[in-house]
């Protein structure tokens, strides 16, 4: 299991290799997700963003989330990376990889991690738009997505 917080760009192949090497037993399915910085928000085009984090707690909260995913979806291995600092449009910002014996568990675990990461890991986005920097507000759709994992009907 690994959780990296970094300012530099990351290499997907290296992360995939790291995940596979750490997985036990060797998984039958690996699902990876990569998030890129969008070039727009609800108010129009943006010119990149910066991300603030809480050193020490961000890593701890992310690892805690990966531990929950491992238990819940019986994962053979899991890893996540989140960038912080200054990011330009379309740069890679987040990566999640999940290895499991069967693909459904790997898919579900990746969704669970992304949905809950947006609620439980100390990271704050500030977008640059029209010459100003503005903190991103929490989206109700993100809150809803995270809440659905708390209902007993969904895995």
């Amino acid at each position: 299991m690994f959780a990296h917080i970094c300012t530099e760009d990351f290499d997907q192949q290296s992360l995939y290799d790291e995940l596979l090497a750490q997985s036990q037993p060797t998984p039958g399915a690996i699902v990876t997700f990569t998030g890129l910085v969008r070039d727009f928000n609800a108010h129009g085009p943006i010119e990149g963003m910066s991300l603030e984090h809480y050193p020490g707690m961000t890593e701890k909260a992310l690892l805690n989330l990966l531990e929950q995913a491992t238990q819940r979806f019986d994962l053979a291995g899991v890893g996540a990376v989140h960038r912080v600092g200054e990011l330009a449009n379309f740069e890679q910002i987040v990566w999640v990889g999940c290895g499991a014996s069967h693909r459904q568990h790997a898919f579900d675990a990746a969704c669970f991690i992304m949905d809950t990461l947006k609620q439980a890991v100390p990271l704050w986005k500030k977008e640059y738009q029209h010459g100003e920097a503005r903190w991103v507000a929490v989206k109700s759709s993100d809150e809803h997505a995270a809440m659905t994992w708390l209902t007993p009907s969904k895995n």
């Binding site: 809480y54 020490g56 947006k118 439980a120």
Partner: protein, 81 residues
């Protein structure tokens, strides 16, 4: 001593990223927030919105009792991903 850290909007509005204050027996996070708000209107402003609290890097509520040398963090709802 209690170490206080702030992030994002709470850091900008309070104007303090980090400070230390004297620990008092039976002190809760709520007491600490009241004390800061009384000292400086900027803290009162920082605490008007939705404020999340962590003690020693674990989320908790304002009723949490503090021990000497605890680290208390105040920040807004998170927006990663």
């Amino acid at each position: 001593m209690i170490t206080i850290k702030t992030f994002a909007q709470i850091r900008e509005i309070s104007g303090r990223a980090e400070l230390t204050i004297k620990w008092q027996a039976d002190m809760t996070v709520d007491n600490l927030m009241e004390q800061l708000a009384l000292q400086d209107a900027a803290w009162a402003n920082a605490f008007t919105g939705n404020v999340l609290i962590a003690v020693n890097k674990t989320m908790c509520n304002a009723q949490q009792r503090l021990n000497d040398n605890d680290e208390v963090a105040f920040f807004p709802p998170v927006t990663g991903g």
